[in-house]
Each structure stands twice: as C-alpha cells, then as structure tokens.
C-alpha cells in the first residue's frame, strides 16, 4: 500500500511539460468587456459591417443571459471584466512566406513539437497555428487550394469568403444557444475555417494548434468546417497553455456542416494546463461543439481525449437531420488532482434510419470529479433510429468521483435505443496477472488503462494516437488505489 501511495505522489508531482511562457511582444486590448471592446476587436480584424453587427447582436444577447448552473461543476465566479479579450503577437503586417514568422514564435511551436516548416513535415498534416487571439500561420495552403479546399484562419475567411461565412456561421450553434456561445460570438478573435468542395477527399489531415500564451487573457476561437456533397475530411485539434496561478477562460465554438454523402471526422487532444496539484490555476474550458448531418448518408464523428483543463464543460453533439446519417462520439476523459470535467454528447435523431454510437470512457484519480452527461433524443418522425451508448468509468482512490447523467428521450416506437454504463476500479486480479508475468504495477496500470481506452484511441488519426497514449501514461502512471 505504501508503495502505491508513493506512486500516486509520483504522478501528482509529474510536471505539465507545456507550461512555459514565450516572451513575445503582444498587441492587446485593455481588460474588460463592453460594446467598445467588441468594436475594437472587429476593427482590429478589419471586418465588414455585417460581421460587426452580428457581434454586437451577440453581445447584447449575452448581456441578457446568466451563467449556466446545471452542470455538476463547482465554478468560481468568473469576472468577465478582468479578462483581456484580445491579444495578438506583434508581427509584420502581412507574411509573404512562412519564413517570415517571428523566430520566437517559431521556437515556441518547435518546442510544442509542431513544425511550421512544410518541408520538414514527414506526414501530410496541414497546420493552422493559433496563438492567443490570432492565427499566425497556415501550412500547405497552396497545395490544398489546388483541390479547391479552403483552409485558412477565420479572419481571412471573413475577408475572402464572406458568402460562405454569412451562410454558415451560427447556423449550427445559434448565438443564443448558451451563455458561452453568445460570449464567443461577440468576442471571437480567430479560429480555423475549412471548406471541402463537392466530391473532394482531403488528401491530408487538417489541424489547428491552439496555444494560450499571454496572461489574463481569454481565448475565444471559432472553428467552422463545411463538407460539400460527397467530400471527406479529417480534422485535428490540439491545445496547450502556460502554467499560471490564475484561471484563464477558454470559450470556443465549433460548427460542422456535413452535406449529402459527406464525412467529417473531428479529433481533439485537449491538454490545456490543468492547474497544480492543489487545484490552483488552470484553464476553464467551456466549449460548444456541434455538427449537423444536413444531407442523407452523411456522417460526423467526434473523437476526444481530454486530459487537461481545470474545468471542462463540453458536449460535442450531432444533429442527425438527413436520412441514413450517422453520428459517432468517442471520448476518453481523464481527471486528476482537483480537475473537474462535465462532458458528454448529444445525439438528436431527426431523420429516418439514422444511427448513432457513443463510447465514453472516464478515468478519475486524485480529488477530481468526472461526469458524463449525454442526451439521446429520438424525434417522432425519426423512424428506425438506432443508438448504442456505452459509458464506463474507472476510479482510482476514494477521494474522486465518477458520475453519469444520461438522458434518453424516445418518441418513436421503431427506435432501438440501448444504454449501458459501468463503474469500477482496475481489477486486482488483472494487476496480479501482470505482476506475476514480471511487469511492475505501474506498467500494468498503464497497460490496463491503455486497453480500457483503446476503443477510443483507435479512432484517432495515427499522429494523434501516439501523443494521446503518451498523455494518458503521464496523467496516470502509478495511480493504483
């Protein structure tokens, strides 16, 4: 037992290795939120009038709303006037090539293991790198453009493809959807935009890397992916932040639109700074992610590995509107120390013969609280809808908690909805078996947890699967209760 206590301490003291700060000059907005700040952000980005109007409307909507209290989370009051809503690394006005990026910034991304040099990339992954409020570089743009794929920062898209933005922004996550989506709509600073034209299969993984650098800022990015008829795209998202004692707010919105016969795969490895072992600091991660299967036979698949953030509030959802459309959600959420996670999904079946699958694996250790909250709704006209949900929780120690809140609402008799959940700890017999084969307890736990999460990790693109496995190992090695 003392051995395992030592191991537990080992893991709790393990360092967050992305906690460094890059010393770069930043162009910042003053603290606080007002209509002027919204105008300031819009002006900074040189936005057209309709965008400013949209933002102001969102801001006014937000003022009328109040913080949601229903989640199983303890959130300290957030002072929205103490946050800087815009912070951009200072750099030359326009970049002619990627070589002109500030060397400091380049070094930051090298340190994070993200190379911005196209020629250095071995695997075909196009990256949009977002630091604080703005996108600093997007790689492989030219190559993608040949296929008609648009992959650029949101600000650029607003300038260059206003017709697409006008058509799709806020169409999946309406401004007034919730408190944080309204806030995001008012002050979002950048993000990625991705458009796959009809019949195109995107030849490489598209990826956005989010980095919070400046202190006292919030990050509010917005991602929009549109897949036209018959197209396919796989998109990855990664994130890290420096270690700081105060909590920083990250409120993002992600919208996916899948037309007929298209397929969008969206993977996230979320590794925001989780706070120290006393629960001090860390990112508040309040994210609204939603996709809509507009056309028949379309498919949206969410995969997420959540290891970071002090508080996670996130429910990637799919609206299955087209007939025969498919929604998937695969999630591993790990909480340790004083982290809190309330995460899950919503599958709204509207079309006929729609299918959805939910696999959620929660792992809680330390003093953390880990909740799964999900909704499966079968509307009256959604004939032959099919859902299977599985949510498992693994507990390590008796100071943490695992919670499940699945809502299942069925209004159609032809639906077939199944839900199952289990909560348990790692079996002593499993550990014993490994020990007896000469493995240390620590290795055994890593092996078992990896096996436990395999179903989800297998869904990740290869580049991310490796990172995710390492993350899991770092977060949990040795935490045997």
């Amino acid at each position: 037992m003392s051995n395992s206590t030592a191991l537990l301490e080992d893991i709790t003291s393990s360092e967050y290795k992305y906690g460094f700060v890059t010393d770069i000059e930043a162009d910042e907005a003053p603290k606080g939120l007002s209509e002027d700040i919204v105008r300031f952000i819009s002006a900074k980005k040189n936005e057209p009038e309709w965008m400013l109007e949209w933002r102001l409307k969102a801001y006014r909507t937000w003022l009328k709303m109040s913080t949601p209290k229903w989640a199983n989370l303890e959130v300290a009051n957030i002072d929205y006037q103490a946050i800087k809503y815009y912070s951009a690394p200072k750099q030359k006005k326009t970049l002619n090539s990627l070589d002109e990026i500030d060397p400091e910034l380049r070094a930051t991304f090298e340190k994070l293991g993200i190379s911005l040099d196209e020629q250095k990339r071995l695997t075909g992954v196009a990256v949009d790198a977002v630091i604080d409020s703005v996108s600093i570089a997007t790689t492989f743009k030219g190559k993608l453009a040949e296929l008609g794929i648009i992959f650029c920062s949101m600000s650029e898209a607003i300038q260059e493809h206003p017709e697409l933005i006008k058509k799709y922004i806020g169409s999946v996550v309406p401004v007034s959807d919730n408190y944080f989506s309204a806030l995001n709509s008012a002050v979002f600073s950048d993000g990625s935009f991705c458009y796959i034209p009809k019949g195109v299969r995107c030849p490489m993984e598209l990826s956005t890397y989010f980095r919070i650098n400046a202190a006292e800022t919030g990050q509010f990015e917005r991602t929009l992916i549109v897949a036209e008829e018959g197209s396919t795209v796989s998109y990855l998202e990664g994130c890290t932040a420096p270690m700081r004692d105060e909590n920083q707010l990250h409120a993002a919105v992600v919208e996916l639109v899948a037309h007929k016969d298209s397929y969008i795969k969206y993977s996230t490895v979320q590794n925001w700074y989780p706070g120290d072992k006393e629960g001090k600091g860390g990112i508040y991660n309040f994210v609204t992610k939603r996709g809509i299967c507009l056309g028949n036979h379309s498919k949206i698949s969410w995969t997420q590995v959540e290891t970071g953030s002090a508080i996670t509030w996130k429910y990637p959802s799919v609206i299955l509107k087209g007939d025969y459309s498919v929604g998937e959600f695969y999630s591993v959420a790990v909480t340790n120390n004083y982290q809190q996670a309330d995460t899950g999904t919503k599958m709204i079946h509207l079309g006929k013969n729609t299918k959805s699958r939910i696999v959620s694996k929660g792992i809680s250790a330390g003093h953390s609280q880990n909740s799964y909250r999900g909704l499966v709704e079968v509307a009256k006209r959604a004939d032959n809808a099919r859902n299977f949900s599985q949510c498992d929780s693994l507990l390590m120690g008796n100071k943490c908690g695992a919670h499940t809140f699945p809502y299942i609402e069925v209004k159609n008799q032809t639906a077939q909805v199944e839900h199952e959940a289990t909560t348990s700890k790692i079996g002593e017999d499993q550990i014993f078996y490994c020990n007896q084969r000469g493995m240390s307890t620590e290795d055994a736990v890593a092996l078992i947890v990896n096996g436990y999460a395999k179903e989800v990790l297998n869904q990740l693109p290869m580049e991310f699967a490796v990172e995710a496995q390492k993350l899991l190992a770092i977060s949990l090695e040795g935490s045997v209760g």
Partner: protein
C-alpha cells in the same frame, strides 16, 4: 411561470390550513402544530415544482393541483358501503386489511387478524397517543420535509394513515394490506395519507399497499411512507396502483436500512392519469441489501414517472433494481434512477436496469439513469433499453400458428411477469398477477 402557477395554489393552501387545524381538535393540534406550521412554511417557500426543476423535468404536476381542491375537507368521511370496498378485491386472501378512504381510516372496513404481540397495526392518530415514543423517534425524521414541496404539503395536512410496528424478532405470518381509496364521487378531493412502518431487529413482514379511486371528480393523492428496517430485518413491500383515469398521485417512500437488513420493494402502476413515485432507499448499514422492482403500463394519455434513489452509505452493501415499462397510445413513461455511492461505501455492488417497450407511434419514453460514485472499490452498472417489441420471438410464435394478438399478449405477459416474479410471497404474487392480467386483458388471450 413558477409564480403564476404556484400562487393560486399557495393561497388555497394557506386559506385552508387554519380551518383544517381547527377541525383536528385540541389535543392533536397541540402535539404536531409546530411541525405542521413549519412544514407549511417550507411548502410555501419551495412552491409547487415546475418542469424547470430538474427533478420534475418531464412531469408537470401543477395543472393537476390547480384551484379545484378544498384542502380543509380532507377529513370528510365517505359514506361508502364498507362491504363493497374490500369484498371483491381481497376475496379469498387471509390478511390484515386496513382501509383508508381519502386518507381517513375506516375501522369498520378494516380487519386485523394478527395477534398484538406479533404486530401492532393502528391508525396514525391513535399511534400518536399510544406509541408516542416511536412516533417521536421516527415521525418526519425519516423523510425530511424541508427540501421537498409535496412532502412538506403532506406533513402540513397529514392526519391519518397506517402505523405498523413489528417488535424485535417477530415474524408476521399474515400479509398486511393498506387499501387506499380516493373518493371523488361527490366532490374533487385531495388527500394526504401518511404511513409509518417500523421493523424491529430481525423482524419480518409483508406489506401491500393498494391504491384505487372512485367517482368522476378529480382526485389528488399525495401519499408519504416512512419505513425503518432495523438490523437483520426483512421487508417485503408491494405497491399496486390502479386508480382511475382522473386520478393524480404523488407518492414518496423513504426506506432506511440498518446493517444486514433486506428489503424487496415492488411498485406496480397500471392506473391513474398522472402518477409520480419517489422511492428513496438509504442503505445505511453493512451487508444490507435493497431490491427495487417496478412495472408500469401506460395507455391513453397517462403519465407515470418513477424516480428512485438508492444511497449507499456503508460498505459491503448491495442493491438490485429492475424497472420495466410498456407504453401504448399516447402514454408517457418517465424513469430516473439515481444510485449514490458515498466515499466510505467500499465494496458496494449496485445494479440497475430499465427496459421499455414502445407499442405505439405516439408514446414517449424519457429515461435517465444516474450514477454518482465516490468510492473506487465498487461495481456499479446500469443499462437501459427502449424499443419496439422484438420481432424474432413474435415470428417464432406466429410460425407456431398463433395469431398476432395472442402472440403479442403472451410476449407482453412474459415481459411483465419478470417483475411480478420478484415478489417473495406466493399468494401476493398470484393476487398481483391476477390483477395485472385482468387489467391488461391477458387472461383470455
């Protein structure tokens, strides 16, 4: 929305409360006046729950409570024929029978056969005089009224109900029936029956509560049962709800377990326009075991809402939960099963299963299992399914020459029977099975 709906009800409640207290007579008022007053204040503070309240998300109770009821008249005696009340229903069953009409005890319809040393069965107001020590220990202490508006309302207006006390080591041979009748023949009625059931150490008893209603006027039953299962005791507890389509019922049952005790609770709902059952079980003792079974059948535009909560507080305890539902026409079934496992409750085994069959295109099933686990060395699982009837067994029966209706009736009967089989008392099991079969029309198929 809360304000609009709550206010007329609150006003009616306040207006009637004073008159009600007067009608109770001096003694009773003196004893429980303080509690009633406090409960009334809690009710006014909490207000009638709306669908904005997470616990009442799918069930809107307010329309059933609106204005029609005279809260003061809960004690009016019914002029029903006592023979008629029990003769048909309990024919051929040897049992203790307590009859409560609109929450009021009818001595001439009730029969107590078990000897007094085995079990003490009294009307609650008699128990207040005779058994004040037990009352003081448990009454309103088992089921708190400060966080639940309807419990508070019951506590404020509760007048009568059954008091059952089984002393240490006694095994009650005959089952005890508590037969509730909500009488709406002459007027709309709201009633607040209240039971206190106390099992001493190693005691054993079988209790069946049956609910029915009469008349065409709307009736509202807000029942509350407090149950104490002491160390090593066993409780077999059945609720059979078969009210008419104009009846609303809210039923709260709190069962507190001590170590090594077991309970087997079966809740069967086949009637009532709107029925909300709250079954809370505190497994507060090592090696205690709680079994909860439920069966609900919905037709027309009826709604049945089962909320269960199993709270594992001590280590090494066990709970098994099985709730099954059949939904036809425009019926709505709601299920919320909470399982809490506290940090100290290591080695808990908790199982929960909720299965629903949707027979019609207009039916709705809203189900929400909920596990909240704070201990690591536990095994907790829950599963739930919702769907149409399985085609394969149907095909099998049809291929053997059975017509569709017969085959369907057989399969539904089998589906329901799984819950009935959980009752550990033969004659009660048969009594319940007969009731269900006649109500659901299986018998002649």
């Amino acid at each position: 929305m809360t304000e609009k709906l709550a206010n007329p009800i609150s006003e009616a409640v306040i207006a009637n409360f004073h008159a009600f207290e007067q009608s109770l007579g001096a003694d009773t008022v003196a004893i429980h006046h303080h509690t009633r007053k406090e409960a009334l204040n809690h009710f006014l503070r909490l207000g009638v729950p709306t669908t904005k309240n997470e616990e009442w998300r799918y069930t809107n109770i307010a329309p059933s409570l609106k204005g029609k009821f005279d809260f003061a008249k809960t004690s009016k005696s019914s002029n029903l024929d006592p023979e008629f009340l029990t003769s048909t229903l309990f024919e051929g069953i040897e049992a203790n029978i307590i009859v409560l009409v609109n929450g009021k005890y009818l001595p001439y319809s009730s029969t107590v056969l078990s000897p007094i040393h085995e079990v003490e069965i009294l009307a609650l107001d008699r128990a207040i005089e005779k058994r004040s020590a037990i009352l003081d220990t448990y009454y309103t202490k088992v089921a708190p009224y400060n966080n639940n508006a309807l419990n508070a309302l019951n506590t404020a207006f509760a007048e009568q109900g059954a008091f059952i006390y089984v002393p240490e080591g006694k095994e009650v041979e005959l089952p005890i029936f508590i037969h509730h009748i909500a009488d709406g023949t002459s007027d709309s009625t709201i009633c607040h029956p209240r039971n206190l059931i106390v099992l001493g150490k190693n005691a054993k008893v079988t209790i069946v509560e049956t609910y029915s209603s009469l008349g065409e006027n709307s009736v509202f039953t807000n029942a509350l049962s407090e149950v104490v299962v002491s160390e090593g005791a066993h409780l077999e507890y059945v609720k059979m709800q078969a009210e008419k389509g104009n009846a609303t019922q809210v039923n709260f049952t709190q069962i507190n377990h001590a170590g090594n005790s077991t309970s087997n609770t079966t809740t069967i709902t086949v009637g009532g326009k709107l029925v909300r059952n709250n079954l809370h079980i505190a497994v507060d003792g090592e090696f205690a075991e709680a079994n909860l079974n439920g069966l609900y059948w919905l037709n027309a535009d009826r709604l049945v809402d089962n909320h269960t909560l199993v709270d594992h507080i001590q280590p090494n305890s066990q709970s098994n939960e099985l709730y099954k539902g059949i939904v036809s026409d425009k019926g709505t079934a709601v299920f919320n099963g909470k399982i809490f496992v506290k940090a100290e409750a290591q080695k808990t085994n908790a199982f929960q299963s909720n299965r629903n069959i949707l027979l019609s295109p207009d039916g709705t099933v809203n189900t929400k299992p909920q596990l909240e686990i704070f201990a690591d060395d536990v095994r907790c699982t829950h599963g739930c399914t919702t769907g149409a009837m399985d085609n394969e067994p149907m095909f099998y029966l049809r291929s053997r020459g059975l017509d569709e209706n017969t085959a369907r009736a057989m399969l539904l009967h089998a589906f329901a029977q799984e819950v009935v089989e959980k009752i550990n008392h033969d004659s009660i099991k048969q009594f319940i099975a007969r009731q269900i079969d006649s109500l659901l029309g299986f018998e002649n198929e």
